[in-house]
């Protein structure tokens, strides 16, 4: 017998019709400014920071790679260094989540996944209205493409439990609400 048929024949058949419902805590009502303030606190706790457009310009003096949407927002040309050589990767997030300081980035036309991953600094542009209060809310709006949720800089505590930032991914993350 093929492994598939064998495994399916060995699995218990009995089923329950309905799944247990998820508790849906009421969504807090906050203004976008309040949500951004909360986001900033959470991001700072993780070792990231909120920046301004001026900060972005200073950062862009370093060898960087810029994705399509970010280039449009900043009025620059997209591209830049080869992905493995860039010090800074610039992306535009689909959504920011206030309660955890997380960012949602889906793949999409002309998007390069490695821009948010290979460089040592990840500069993230987020249009101000793209913020939600909770992760639960964000997950009702996911793209059907491959998506990553990023919460703070890359980190490890493998060696004696000591926190080190930037082990494989960016050790610095700067988020610019625009």
């Amino acid at each position: 017998m093929e492994d598939r048929e064998l495994i399916l024949s060995l699995l218990p058949k009995a089923g329950r019709k309905s799944r247990p419902p998820l508790a849906q805590p009421p969504l807090p009502r906050h203004s976008a400014d309040e949500l951004w303030a909360e986001f900033g606190i959470r991001l700072a706790e993780l070792g990231g920071r909120i920046g301004t457009r001026e900060d972005a310009e200073v950062i862009l003096a370093r060898p960087h790679i810029l994705d399509h949407e970010s280039a449009e927002i900043l009025g620059l040309h997209s591209g830049g260094e080869p992905i493995w050589d860039a010090e800074v990767g610039v992306t535009t997030a689909d959504l920011a989540i206030a309660e955890t300081g997380s960012l949602i980035l889906a793949t999409g036309p002309h998007r390069t996944r490695l821009v948010s991953l290979c460089p040592v600094l990840h500069l993230v542009l987020v249009p101000k209205d793209r913020i939600v209060a909770t992760m639960a809310e964000a997950f009702t709006r996911l793209s059907d493409r491959t998506t990553v949720m990023i919460t703070g800089p890359s980190r490890t505590a493998d060696i004696e439990g000591i926190l080190v930032r930037g082990v494989h991914g960016p050790g610095d993350i700067v988020v610019v609400p625009l």
């Binding site: 495994i7 997380s102 703070g152 060696i159």
Partner: protein, 457 residues
Amino acid sequence: MPKGKKPSVEAFARGVTAETTKSVRAASKSKTESRIPTLEIAFHDVEGARTQAAQIKEFVLDNISSLLVQLEAKCKMNGIQVHWAKDAESARNLIARLCEEAAPVGSTIVKAKSMATEEIHLNEHLIEKGYEVVETDLGEYVIQIDHDTPSHLVTPIIHKNKRQVAESFSREGLGPYTESPEELAAQARRHLRDRFKEAKIGISGINFAIAQSGRLVLVENEGNNRLSTTAPDTHIAVMGLEKILPSEGDLPLFLRLLAGSATGQRMTVYVHMISGPRRKDENDGPSNVHLVILDNGRTKVLNGPYREILRCIRCGACLNVCPVYRQVSGHAYGHVYSGPLGAVLAPALEGVEQLPDVAKASTLCGSCEEVCPVKIPIPRMLLQLREEAVRKGVLKEPIPWSMFVFGATSGLRWRTGLKLLPMSKMAQHPMKNGWTEFRDLPEKQGRDFRKWWNGRS
């Protein structure tokens, strides 16, 4: 750990160095301390969240057959190629074949940390076939260059200190000798970057597979997991068949429970949700994504008395609080799955005859069940396993009193601050053989064991 005949847990425990115990205790303590405050921020009602997660996982186990078929159909629609493997050998052969189709022998394969691939001893097999297999998680990389085995689900080198890592890195020529964790991490980053660039295949586990959408969810902190599943042209993901969640709406609950329980983080740094291979208009990502659904004993467990252990989301919290684990570390259990989880899962998967004594490596203090985000009744199952082992005649010696006492009093010293199973609950279990050692215990007084023991001494 040297291959060959496994020493008994007690024999192994006697040989554990003070240095190892010190590393394990310190790391376990810090993870345990941040767990509760983090979960309390995430959930107004932590208890309610755990109950809900347990119920959802029970629903999954009840409907595993239809959910797997749904997952398979959705994955195929997403362009993910789905394969099934009945056991470790079948999985190894299948994955070797997928590798041969993807890249010539001799190519580099980057691995993201995965217990399922450890379980089937995949690396050894692919290396034998002529591939260069590189573990890329910092801890797993150290394990690989030291020819060691992981001793914890989440932090594989919990048994090593920075001096030992420093010695390994300078021996391998990664850079000048340094004991600074920052510099060691930077050396690993530099060294492994080249491997990611040249790799043709990336192999990973998964944390959750979503039946409703056919999406594979991987969580990690370092970024090596994303690199392994993004940079190479072929990605092979291996999942134990129980790792399903019904829908994406379940993710926030499970992701927060997992992050908080595992390391006391509010959220893991990267949650990678893979919806299939790179689409035509996308600039990067693998062009082939394979999912291998692994049985390897799980259907047997599903139909038996230890079924609930398959709710496990591999957070490692039960290891971190376990007084026995903290003392002896993961290698003592003689299996890739260690700690209270492993003491149930390993014999449940392989048969109690294969690992008759791991169920003894517990004080039955109940801490594991207290912390488990999916409320697995581990102490009850450990008792059942001991009973089964004694009944089958594979566990002859009585439960070692010394280990029981050791763990219980030390547990108090370490102030895990957790409530314990009342003795009256344990006494309900009809343990005849081996249980007689405890006949003098005050069975029905309703006091817990540690209190009783301390009062006596």
